[in-house]
């Protein structure tokens, strides 16, 4: 179950890149040759994101050819401008 460890790494990576912003969605690309079960990462998403800045966010996994395992983009809630 290296998917659990990889999902934890994914959450840390996104937390670092988004610095406290509210994360709505994370888009991940998983190659068929990456040696990673996309279902297993999706399965543990809610548990791994609990009590993190990503809690309540959604994980979208695009399965691709090849062996990549990469974070494509993150969707953040817009910050309201101060009046």
């Amino acid at each position: 179950m290296h998917e659990l460890a990889l999902t934890e790494d994914l959450v840390s990576l996104v937390e670092e890149r988004t610095a406290g912003r509210v994360v709505v969605r994370v888009r991940l690309r998983v190659g068929r040759g990456a040696g990673v079960m996309a279902e297993a990462m999706a399965f543990c998403w809610d548990v791994v994101t609990t009590a993190t800045a990503l809690e309540g966010s959604r994980l979208e996994i695009e399965e691709t050819e090849g062996a990549e395992l990469a974070v494509a983009s993150v969707e953040l809630r817009k910050e309201r401008a101060h009046v």
């Binding site: 290296h2 709505v24 969605r25 999706a42 959604r58 979208e60 974070v71 494509a72 969707e75 809630r77």
Partner: protein, 243 residues
């Protein structure tokens, strides 16, 4: 249909859509394993600077990784240091120390593999001397350890004759990553149906030209070839000759 496992939902989507007008997209485009691989490169560079050769030894549980190391430590006389990975116990590190080498045990708990961070931290404790051979004995598992670079110079996969000759294609990631395939327990060949040619062909279909080295830790058959291979990586009796 099924609320908990998500089997009824659309492809690998964990649900709860957001309102698009309220969100903005941040492009990340970063490999998930980048942090591990960066740290592994750092480990490798530190080892290179001290003339230390590192092997990542992987197999299913019970293939004979620790036995191979015990015998190697006793036979080779080179300075060998070992990082042991298991979910629980320090049995293997105890065995390595009893054989006469330095060892640090990592217990991964629920974890199924070692990663670069674990090996990096263990190295601070182990402090292998310059010119030594470092062996990272990974958690017994033919799946997960294949994915994680731990800073080694070569990956060695051990398979024993009782496991059958179809393991390479059943566990393709592991065998595709192998720089050497050791086939252990050849003393048991008369009692099992293993076809060594089939195993070799399968391993080479995944890693073209990979060396397959049959040996028996118990009888010593084939060990000279193993020691010659280790020496070819830059380590020989009592002294390293540089990576």
């Amino acid at each position: 249909m099924c609320d908990t496992c998500g089997c009824g939902s659309t492809a690998r989507d964990t649900g709860e859509p957001g309102d698009a007008s309220e969100t903005e997209t941040l492009t990340v485009e970063e490999r998930l394993l980048a942090k591990n691989d960066d740290l592994a490169a750092h480990v490798r560079a530190s080892l290179d600077a001290r003339g230390i050769v590192a092997l990542n030894l992987m197999s299913s549980p019970g293939a004979g990784k620790t036995s191979l190391l015990e015998r190697t430590i006793r036979d080779l006389g080179a300075e060998i240091c070992v990082i042991e990975g298991d979910q629980e116990t320090s049995y293997d590190a105890d065995r390595i120390r009893a054989a006469g080498a330095r060892a640090v045990q990592i217990n991964t708990g629920a974890g199924c593999h070692l990663d670069a961070r674990m090996v990096h931290d263990a190295l601070h404790q182990l402090d292998p001397p310059p010119g030594s051979l470092l062996v990272v004995e990974n958690v017994g598992n033919l799946v997960c350890p294949a994915l994680f670079d731990v800073g080694e110079h070569a990956k060695v996969v051990v398979v024993s004759v009782t496991e059958g000759d179809d393991k390479p294609v059943k566990y393709p990631h592991m065998f595709a990553a192998a720089d050497l395939v050791v086939v252990n327990k050849t003393d048991l060949l008369p009692y099992v149906d293993l076809d060594l040619d089939r195993l070799t062909a399968q391993a080479r279909s995944l890693r073209p030209g990979v060396r397959v080295l049959p040996l028996s830790v118990r009888t010593g058959e084939g060990l000279d070839a193993w020691y010659a291979w280790v020496a070819s990586k830059g380590v020989r009796d009592g002294a390293a000759v540089g990576a």
